[in-house]
Structures are given as structure tokens and as C-alpha cells.
């Protein structure tokens, strides 16, 4: 597999799986406006996954749907961070804040990529992500002094660092304190290899309908 296809799949898998997790709040968010916000954010993330899979599918001579739903669980390249099933609102908001910070850095790098297709798509995604960032900013500000939110950020910080590699992870570590208004506790980055315990169950559910009639035209 080309380096470009691997890179595309890594980001697409992150966006698909986080979109899936965020969509779990549809209907059960603590208040209606957040129900709308999480549904919309999840829809955007899954839309980004679709566009990234489409580029990868051209390189790999397959389709976006096959990449999204027909791979074996071990073939997915998402970071364990996006797989976690977070049932606590503070944890969920902490993940949104941390993921958006990481994703911003990743998109900045992609927008400057010499590959015009990658750079063009990244710029388009970035326009939409602006609103996710504002949503994260609003919550990070509202919860700044809540011990429960700070504990959630601390507990997820190492996982968030694992979304990025090398220099980009250093940029995230440098930026996060200013963005939060406080410094998260030191944590070792959780690498992007292997999956969290909950991933198999997520995959089972996510691909269940498609697997029920293999090869069907939906």
C-alpha cells in the first residue's frame, strides 16, 4: 500500500470512528442544543471520512464503502483515543477539545502538503472544522475550573498525543496549555498500534448491517 493511501486511511479511520462515537450522543445528550451539535459534528466527521476514503479508494482500486465497512478489525488504523466508549459528559467534552486541537495541527500540515489533492481536501475539511473548534473552545472555557473536566483531560491526554506523530505531537504538547488555560499532567503518548478493548464491539455493530447480506447493492 502506498504511503499516501496509508496516511489517508489513518485519518479517515479516525474521523469515521470518532463520528460513530459522537453520534452515540444523538438523542441522549444532556440538553437539546448539544444533541443537535453532536449529531452535526458526527455527520461532518463521517463526511470527511467519506471524502478521504474516496481518495484512498482511487489509489487502491476499491470503493469508499468497502474501505469503511469491509475491512477486518485489525486492518483499521484509527488511534485508540477515538475508539473509547466514553459515557461521561466530561470525558466526552475532553475528547472533543483534545481531538480538535490534534486535528487542527494535522490539517495544517496536510494543507501545506505538495500533493494538491491532499492539500485541497484538507483545506475543505478545515473550513468545516472551524465550527467544531468553536464548539470545543466554548466548552473548554465553560468547564475551565471544573475539577471533573480537568481530571478527564488529564486521563485522556496521553491518548490524544498518540493521534499525532513525531514533530506534530510536540506541537500539540506545546500548544495545549495555552489553549486550555492550564497544563495537563505529564503523560506518555499512546501509540497508534493495535486497538483498545472496545474496538471489536464497535466494529461488530458498525458493520453489522452491511455484513448481513455480503455483496448486496444498498
Amino acid at each position: 500500500m502506498s504511503e499516501r493511501a496509508q496516511r489517508l486511511l489513518e485519518i479517515a479511520d479516525d474521523e469515521l470512528v470518532l463520528g460513530w462515537r459522537d453520534s452515540e450522543w444523538t438523542g441522549i445528550a444532556p440538553f437539546l442544543e448539544e444533541d443537535v451539535a453532536f449529531s452535526s459534528i458526527a455527520q461532518n466527521e463521517i463526511g470527511h471520512a467519506r471524502a478521504l476514503y474516496e481518495l484512498a479508494a482511487r489509489d487502491l482500486d476499491t470503493t469508499a464503502d468497502e474501505l469503511a465497512f469491509d475491512r477486518a478489525p485489525e486492518e483499521y488504523r484509527c488511534a485508540p483515543f477515538v475508539e473509547l466508549r466514553l459515557l461521561d459528559w466530561a470525558d466526552t467534552i475532553a475528547r472533543r477539545v483534545l481531538y480538535e486541537a490534534a486535528d487542527t495541527i494535522r490539517l495544517e500540515a496536510l494543507k501545506a502538503d505538495p500533493d494538491p489533492e491532499l492539500a485541497g481536501l484538507a483545506a475543505k475539511m478545515d473550513r468545516e472544522e472551524v465550527y467544531h473548534r468553536l464548539h470545543a473552545e466554548m466548552w473548554a472555557d465553560r468547564l475551565r475550573d471544573e475539577p471533573r473536566f480537568r481530571a478527564a483531560v488529564d486521563s485522556l491526554w496521553g491518548q490524544a498525543l498518540g493521534v499525532l506523530e513525531g514533530e506534530l505531537a510536540t506541537v500539540l504538547a506545546d500548544r495545549m496549555p495555552a489553549q486550555l488555560g492550564w497544563t495537563p499532567a505529564q503523560a506518555a503518548p499512546a501509540p497508534r498500534n493495535g486497538h483498545s478493548d472496545g474496538f471489536r464491539a464497535l466494529w461488530d455493530e458498525m458493520t453489522m448491517v452491511r455484513r448481513s447480506i455480503p455483496g448486496a447493492s444498498w
Binding site: 461532518n44 475543505k124 468553536l134 466554548m138
Partner: protein, 161 residues
């Protein structure tokens, strides 16, 4: 014989599936049309990547080009060429008349919370600037929710992207 002009005119008759007051051409999603004999090539730029109406839009364009006797090829361009600035003046007027506040023009910097929370947005019903942000998100990815203190109505504000 299909002409580019006839194709543009036909596409200008296709309403946006989610906001049928505006056509695909006024929405700015048709980037280019080129005609070579019967072959009609359309460059189409999605609005939001997660918009569920993209396939419906493509299917509608295929049907309308076929009705002209053309062989449609719809190319989906996944680059950065669509922004809300591509909505035409006629399209903005149609949106406002249907109760959707059209998007503010893009500026060099992305919008900030302090701007969105300000009263720089006008109510499409009564024209008052006494409006506040209710939710960054709304019924579709392209809209936010605001509330007008003037006429005490919630309204949908197009996001600037």
C-alpha cells in the same frame, strides 16, 4: 445538439434538495460545464462533505442533462473551491425571503466566537440586529440557530465557510 447554455439553464432549474428555495447554480456548487458533442461534463463541488443531499443532487443533474439529450459525466471535485461566497446575489435574496439568514462574507480569518455572539447578524424576518447565537449547529450542517430579540423568533443562519 446540447449547448453549454442549455445545460446551465437546466441546472438552474434544479432546487437544492434540503433548501428548495435555491437552485444548484445559485448555490454555487456547479463549478464548470463543458460540452463535447453529446458528452456533458459537469464539475460539481460539494457544500459540506457530510451533506446527505450530494447523491440526490448528482442524480438530479444526470436526469436533467439526459432530458436534454446529453450524456452526463458528473465529476465530484473534492477540493477547496466551494465556499459560501459562491452563493449568488440572487441565491442570497431567495434565502432571505424564505427566512434563512444568508451567510456573512468570508474574511481572511475564520469566524470567532466573539463575532458570532455579537449582534452583527440581521434577522431575516424583521431586519433587527438584536439577535443572539443559540447554537453553532442546526438542522443541517450548513446552518446555525439564532434568536431575534426584535420579533422574538428563532431563525436559521447560514454558516460562513
Amino acid at each position: 445538439m446540447v449547448t453549454g447554455e442549455a445545460v446551465w439553464a437546466a441546472l438552474a432549474e434544479i432546487p437544492d434538495p434540503e433548501i428548495p428555495v435555491i437552485s444548484l447554480v445559485d448555490l454555487g456548487v456547479v463549478r464548470d460545464v463543458s460540452v463535447d458533442g453529446a458528452r456533458v461534463h459537469v464539475e460539481f463541488t460539494p457544500t459540506f462533505l457530510g451533506c446527505p443531499a450530494l447523491e440526490v443532487m448528482q442524480a438530479a443533474m444526470v436526469t436533467s442533462i439526459e432530458a436534454l439529450g446529453g450524456k452526463p459525466e458528473i465529476e465530484v471535485v473534492l477540493d477547496d473551491s466551494w465556499s459560501t461566497d459562491r452563493i449568488t446575489p440572487a441565491g442570497r435574496k431567495q434565502l432571505r425571503e424564505a427566512g434563512f439568514a444568508p451567510p456573512a462574507p468570508r474574511s481572511a480569518e475564520p469566524p470567532r466566537l466573539v463575532q458570532l455572539r455579537s449582534n452583527a447578524f440581521r434577522c431575516p424576518y424583521c431586519g433587527s440586529n438584536d439577535t443572539r447565537l443559540e447554537n453553532l449547529f442546526g438542522p443541517t450542517p450548513c446552518r446555525s440557530l439564532r434568536y431575534c430579540g426584535g420579533c422574538r423568533q428563532p431563525f436559521e443562519q447560514f454558516k460562513t465557510i
